[in-house]
């Protein structure tokens, strides 16, 4: 546990004491802000359409998915690959800290930064509440879905980072896996087999966030995120362990 906490603190300090976190945060807020304001402006227009809440679109729109797909590779690309490149991984592996503690410590630090990026956007709902009725249920469920998908994607990012010394390669590999998972959403309508359709529907991230954004929390989604994150963290630990023998 001490090793985990020590790794966690170290990584968190590395994130927040560098300008990178704030540069990412600024662009994150700008992108999210633009997406949010487009929806708010549209719904305020009497001649415009209606039928969905601002946050339904906020959690399933173009800007949301761009940020959710891009930020995990960026946040995780240096986690293990940088240590491998600089040679500090050997020191780390010989210290009384297990691979599990190292992986989890780094993972939770990345997750904390991910939460830090999304947290200010809660203020959008607070701002909107001053001028309109806001149902907090779908907003909270939307953030739950965002956290779940982020937790899964970050675990995949840690795995990607554990296989290479090159951060760019780690980021690209992670992004490729995330895109592979994301594009399942577009296959559901193309298959005819019921079983295949069920499986694809189960992993259809677009549908997941549509549900979360409406206020529907489905246990299937949460199980999928938790088990996938656990799987990739396990694989990351095994990847680090395998390095020991070489």
């Amino acid at each position: 546990m001490n090793g985990l906490l020590a790794t966690f603190e170290r990584e968190l300090r590395a994130y927040f004491f560098s300008s990178l976190a704030y540069v990412v945060l600024t662009f994150f807020l700008l992108a999210n802000g633009i997406g949010f304001l487009i929806v708010v402006t549209y719904l305020s227009n009497p001649q415009g359409g209606a039928g969905f809440t601002p946050f339904e679109f906020f959690f399933s729109g173009f800007f949301f998915w761009i940020l959710v797909l891009i930020s995990p590779p960026i946040l995780t690309m240096r986690l293990i690959s940088e240590e491998r490149k600089s040679g500090t991984i050997e020191t780390l592996m010989t210290s009384p800290v297990s691979e599990v503690q190292v992986v989890l410590g780094k993972y939770f630090a990345a997750l904390a930064l991910y939460v830090f990026l999304w947290l200010p956007t809660v203020l959008y709902a607070v701002i909107l509440e001053q001028h309109s009725d806001v149902d907090w249920g779908p907003i909270l469920s939307g953030y739950l879905g965002t956290l779940g998908i982020g937790a899964m994607f970050l675990a995949i990012g840690v795995f990607g980072s554990s296989f290479t010394k090159n951060q760019i390669v780690a980021a690209i590999a992670t992004f490729a896996i995330l895109m592979f998972l994301f594009t399942f959403a577009f296959f559901e309508g193309l298959v005819t087999s019921e079983t295949t359709k069920d499986v694809i529907g189960y992993v259809n991230l677009l549908q997941h966030m549509e549900d979360f954004g409406k206020g529907v929390v489905d246990t299937r989604r949460l199980v999928y995120y938790a088990t996938t994150a656990a799987l990739f963290l396990f694989l990351s630990c095994r990847a680090l362990e395998a390095k020991k023998w070489r």
Binding site: L29, T41, S44, P120, L123, P138, V216, D218, V223, A242
Partner: protein, 519 residues
């Protein structure tokens, strides 16, 4: 060297086996999650939850039900239908299976569905169980608002009625028989079916038909008993008297565990109310039917007279429980007072369902211009509807003895004795007779059933009388258009805070951290 190689092989194999096991565990957990799941609705108004009644119907299922959306995803009703059917499946993953078939993209599957269920059209929802099926057309699923057509806008979804139709369809499939409702005729009753401008129950019949009720008209004049398999007899505001033999027929039916619903109504003629012999008959069941018209000055609505009343309170009873909890009003027009009789027998469980305010009274002389409560009149709060129930007396132990078979051997004697003992311990509860009486018929007839929550009151009454308390009329879900009403200054403020203030704080924090690190 060899040892090191062997060690690496062993560790590599262990690692591989571990990975395979974890992958298998991952697949298993997700498979179980796919088959057994739940959905939680976090919206304030439970927009995506099934009603309690639908959940009860679904929870009681003991046979498989297949719900098929046979619609193009481009249809305006596709998403609400898909969401609704997913809720049904989540409510009972063991017996409910949801499928989606796109008639354009999945032509092969579409054709199989059409052939299997003998369907000739697309854009439907199919509710199937075994060889039976019910088909719900898209056009029946929702009401649309076309008011925007003059401005070039398309139809907007106003109310989605899918849950009522699907739960009704499921009920039809799982219930062996429809509850049989008989409406008496021959005494000037309000008829079941309308036409010719007459007041009727045609709308109630349609609504109750959705809940799988079957209806017939029944002449009591020459009947010697209520037909067997009758679940409910309705006497709807008769205007001429019943013969004693007919009233005796009702008594025998009710005392044998039958169910009756009686609507009494002020006649609007010189005789204030038409007795039809029912008032005295009802007194035998603890119901006091006033020879009056209830007036409630407190509940007068614009453009309506003093005889229009909105009950101020509900009794504690399943029929009105939901109305009370949801604070939903019903509207009665020219009602007689229907109360629990002062000398009602203690064996009768009587609940006054609807009560007026304290300022109401039962006016016995509506022609009186003073229109104020007088002596001898019922003073408020005045009840205008009651529900009565009582246990029916059944045969005693001699019946059981008559049923016991003759013992042949000692072993058989023991077995019979044990079984008789078990029969005595597990003796079924005596049947319960149920009676509901209302002082007005208009609220249930076409004239006013769609006013306020009258239809719910009617549905609840019928469902309670046939012991389907798990059902009520499941109201369609109104879809509210979400709009924001922001003034220009408000919009600019939001723009400023979201695009300038928040990112600005991030920039300032980043610069501060950078400057500190440089030092």
């Amino acid at each position: 060297m060899v040892d090191q190689t062997r060690k690496k092989i062993i560790e590599g194999s262990t690692l591989s086996v571990g990975v395979v096991l974890v992958l298998a565990l991952f697949a298993l957990v997700n498979y179980l999650s796919l088959r057994h799941y739940d959905r939680f609705d976090w919206t304030e108004n439970s927009l995506y939850s099934l009603s309690e009644k639908s959940r009860n119907v679904v929870a009681d299922l003991d046979r498989e039900i297949e719900l098929v959306i046979f619609m193009s995803p481009g249809s305006q009703l596709y998403n609400p239908a898909d969401e609704l059917l997913t809720s049904y499946e989540a409510a009972n993953t063991k017996f409910i299976d949801k499928r989606v078939i796109d008639p354009v993209k999945n032509r092969f599957e579409a054709q199989r569905l059409l052939d299997r269920h003998s369907i000739e059209r697309s854009n439907v929802i199919v509710v199937a169980s075994g060889e039976e099926r019910r088909v719900i057309d898209e056009i029946d699923l929702a009401e649309f608002d076309y008011s925007g057509a003059q401005f070039g806008q398309g139809a907007t979804l106003k109310e989605f009625k899918g849950e009522q139709l699907i739960t009704s369809a499921i009920l039809e499939l799982v219930e062996a028989e429809k509850p049989k409702i008989l409406f008496t005729t021959g005494h000037g009753e309000t008829p079941l079916d309308g036409g010719g401008g007459r007041r009727s129950f045609s709308i109630a019949k349609r609504l109750l038909g959705n809940d799988n009720f079957g209806f017939e008209e029944w002449s009591t004049a020459t009947a010697t008993q209520v037909p067997e398999t009758t679940d409910l007899v309705v006497v709807a505001a008769p205007t001429t008297s019943f013969f004693p033999a007919e009233l005796d027929l009702f008594s025998r039916y009710l005392d044998g565990g039958g169910r009756m619903l009686v609507f009494l109504d002020p006649s609007g003629t010189d005789d204030l109310t038409v007795d039809a012999g029912l008032a005295q008959w009802l007194a035998g069941y603890g119901v006091a039917a006033g020879d009056d018209v209830v007036v409630d000055p407190e509940s007068q609505m614009p453009l309506m007279g003093p005889g229009d009343i909105i009950p101020a309170s509900y009794g504690v009873h399943p029929i009105v429980e939901y109305l009370d909890q949801s604070r939903t009003a019903v509207h009665l027009s020219f009602s007689r007072s229907i109360r629990k009789a002062d000398d009602a027998s203690g064996d009768l469980e009587i609940t006054e369902l609807l009560e007026t305010s304290a300022s109401a009274w039962g006016e016995t002389d509506p022609e009186d211009p003073a229109l104020e409560p007088g002596d001898g009149e019922v003073h408020g709060p005045v009840a205008v509807g009651v529900a009565v129930s009582f246990q029916v007396e059944t045969g005693g132990e001699e019946d059981l003895a008559a049923e016991e078979p003759a013992a042949v051997t000692e072993e058989a004697e023991t077995e019979v004795a044990e079984s008789a003992g078990e029969d005595q311990n597990e003796k079924p509860a005596p049947p319960e007779a149920r009676l509901v009486v209302y002082g007005d018929v208009d609220f249930a007839a076409d004239t006013a059933i769609q006013s306020t929550a009258n239809s719910e009151l009617v549905m609840n009454t019928f469902n309670w009388l046939v012991e389907r308390e798990q059902l009520i009329a499941i109201e369609g879900r109104s879809t509210e258009e979400t709009r924001l009403f922001l003034t220009q200054p408000e919009l600019l403020t939001i723009w400023g805070m979201v695009l300038l203030l928040l990112p600005g704080i991030a920039v300032v924090t980043g610069v501060t951290v950078f400057m500190r690190r440089r030092r």
